[in-house]
Amino acid sequence: MSSERQSKNSSESKSSSQSGKTSDSRKISGAKSSSESGKTTGSKSAPGSKGAPESGKKSAGPAVAERLSVFKTYKLFVGGKFPRSESGRVYEVSDSQGAWLANAPLASRKDARDAVSAARKAFGGWAGATAYNRGQILYRIAEMLEGRREQFVREVAGGEGLSPAGAAAAVDAAIDRWVWYAGWTDKIAQVAGGSNPVAGPFFNLSSPEPTGVVAVLAPQDSSFLGLVSVLAPVIATGNAAVLVTSHRAPLPALSLGEVLATSDLPGGVVNLLSGTAAEIGPHLAAHSDVNAIDLTGADGDLARELEIAAADNLKRVLRPRAEDWTADPGTGRLLAFLETKTVWHPIGV
């Protein structure tokens, strides 16, 4: 390492030798100092770096300075920002073997309330964006995920106890799912809408429109592929989402927030809350400003209870069912959160 630097510097000093005596001498002194610093870093041998030849010779050298680990503070994603839980609570997230991975915020009902108002604020702009623009942004999310693939593979493997290969396959499938739904944004209207033949002098057109603010209880088992599979179709059609992550493995979801924040997705379109579906779910299900709820992450009794609460303001409800996240997603989830607007337009005979 040090020899490389030296040679590079010396070549520089050669090339600049014509530019005057003073600058020339400066270059040479620079080369000297860099070779010295190269030696010192080599002898200290930071973890992960390949030791310089000198360090190999010193068998009883100074103790290796161990680098302190930098732990990540996982936070919620609400309104395009990364707040801690309003309640100040966190809970321990552990891997499948029970070893501690990180602390995740434990969202409260007030975080859910804030998330719903952020989603409501973002809904108009997102629903009004062109389908083409939404598609571009969803594709951008896939691009951003691709760049942070290793991080997600690590988090998925830790949280779900998958082998590295298995986790990589899940992450790849999740990235591909964003691309799949990115393609659907400007095509769903043709599939779900169209002109209707009517018995009268009318031109009759149906077009699908987003439902509004959709609360999503993400699947508990598949922390990333399942999460993307329920989230992407909701926002692809122009809805705004308030999502409660898997309780056991929330880390990939919280990291996804960082990806969404850098993908041109307007703040508030997706809001991610880590916590328990049993605590936050009832408040979302009863919230009058939530237009639909996806109960995928709720188990039998809870799902029933939430569906009853959701009936108060006639929310659309997507009931939980056994799903294979690796299978072809189809358009079922896209169509679940759409309203059909039909226009009757008189025509001259």
Partner: protein, 342 residues
């Protein structure tokens, strides 16, 4: 503590309202400080300086109280009853004013137990429409006047503006002070203008519209100025002092409202005359409103916790209070679909 060294505070005076018949006599006891421009300046500049850091810290500290359950329900209803529901847009129409009046009478059509607001605040040309729409509901009509919001017009025009609004049936007049005169130190000019407007508030039947004086704190720039302005306007006979027009960047803040509350408290201690306070502009959430109520309770106490002595100048605040009210009564979070759009 004697904040008013030039004065000898008469102790044990019974309190009289600023809009009552006895207030003038009480103010006359301070005639010496308003006798001349020099005396007035000496008095206002003799007021103790404001500790800005302490004031803001106190206001922030009072904003941290947790008000829950029954206390919250009480505070929400009290706040609704203190609202001057306001529409001051160039685009105001008679229809909009009428629908605002209907909303003021019955803020939540799904829940008749919601209290009505204190007043409807409009431009002078809408005062008669508001008066007719409100009828005998008991809600006051407040009209801004004196070339609101800038106040840059000849005094004769301002007085005509006020007389017009009073003739149209306004129960309350929200005037703006001449900030230019105040900032350039022509205190007597401001004082006399307020006096003149107060006279113009008189009705032929012997009553008078209540006078609220707007400072536009955002333009007074220092806390010392706000304190001086409070005393100046109260000495001139204001029934209410109001923070701002809502038309500039800085409107009511907890700190400048706290300062004005302290001023009305000290003024009552000195003269026995009770003056109301109205923060306006920028108060949009129930949370904010409750913070102000805590501040009133902690600074001037129960005597001011009524629509007669404390008002909120607001428009969107009402919807947020109604949504909170619905949350408390049903247990479910409400949304903007369940309150009227105005």
């Amino acid at each position: 503590m004697s904040p008013l060294s030039p004065l000898t505070a008469p102790s044990g005076l019974p309190t009289v309202p600023a809009h009552g018949p006895d207030a003038a006599a009480r103010l006359a006891t301070l005639a010496d400080v308003t006798a001349s421009d020099a005396a007035l300046r000496r008095f206002l500049h003799g007021l103790p300086g404001v500790d800005a850091v302490g004031l803001e810290a106190r206001a922030a500290m009072l904003g941290t109280r947790s008000i829950k359950t029954t206390a919250k329900a009480f505070a929400i209803d009290l706040a609704i009853s203190m609202i001057d529901l306001t529409t001051l847009e160039g685009a105001d129409t008679p229809g909009k004013v009428r629908s605002l009046c209907a909303k003021g009478v019955s803020p939540d059509p799904t829940d008749r137990s919601a209290p009505k607001v204190a007043a409807i605040c409009v431009y002078p040309d809408m005062a008669r429409i508001a008066k007719d729409a409100l009828g005998d509901s008991g809600i006051h009509v407040a009209s801004v006047a004196t070339a609101f919001p800038a106040g840059r017009a000849a005094r004769s025009v301002k007085l005509a503006d006020v007389a017009d609004a009073v003739a149209a049936g306004a129960d309350e007049i929200d005037m703006v002070i001449d900030r230019g005169a105040f900032l350039s130190g022509r205190y007597m000019e401001v004082f006399e203008e307020i006096r003149a407007v107060k006279q113009a508030c008189a009705r032929p039947d012997g009553g008078a519209a209540h006078l609220k004086v707007i400072f536009e704190n955002g333009e007074l720039s220092t806390y010392d100025n706000i304190r001086r302005c409070s005393w100046l306007t109260m000495l001139a006979g204001a029934d209410f002092i109001k923070t701002s027009t809502g038309k500039v960047a800085v409107n009511a803040t907890p700190a400048n409202t706290l300062l004005m509350l302290e001023a009305v408290r000290d003024f009552r201690d000195t003269t026995g005359v009770q003056v109301g306070v109205k923060p306006a502009g920028g108060i949009r959430t129930s949370r904010d409103a409750i913070k102000y109520l805590v501040m009133v309770n902690e600074t001037v106490g129960d005597d001011w916790l009524s629509p007669d002595w404390f008002r909120f100048g607001a428009s969107s605040l009402l919807n947020d209070l109604l949504m909170q009210r619905q949350k408390l009564s049903t247990g479910r979070y409400s949304g903007p679909d369940y309150v009227t759009v105005d």
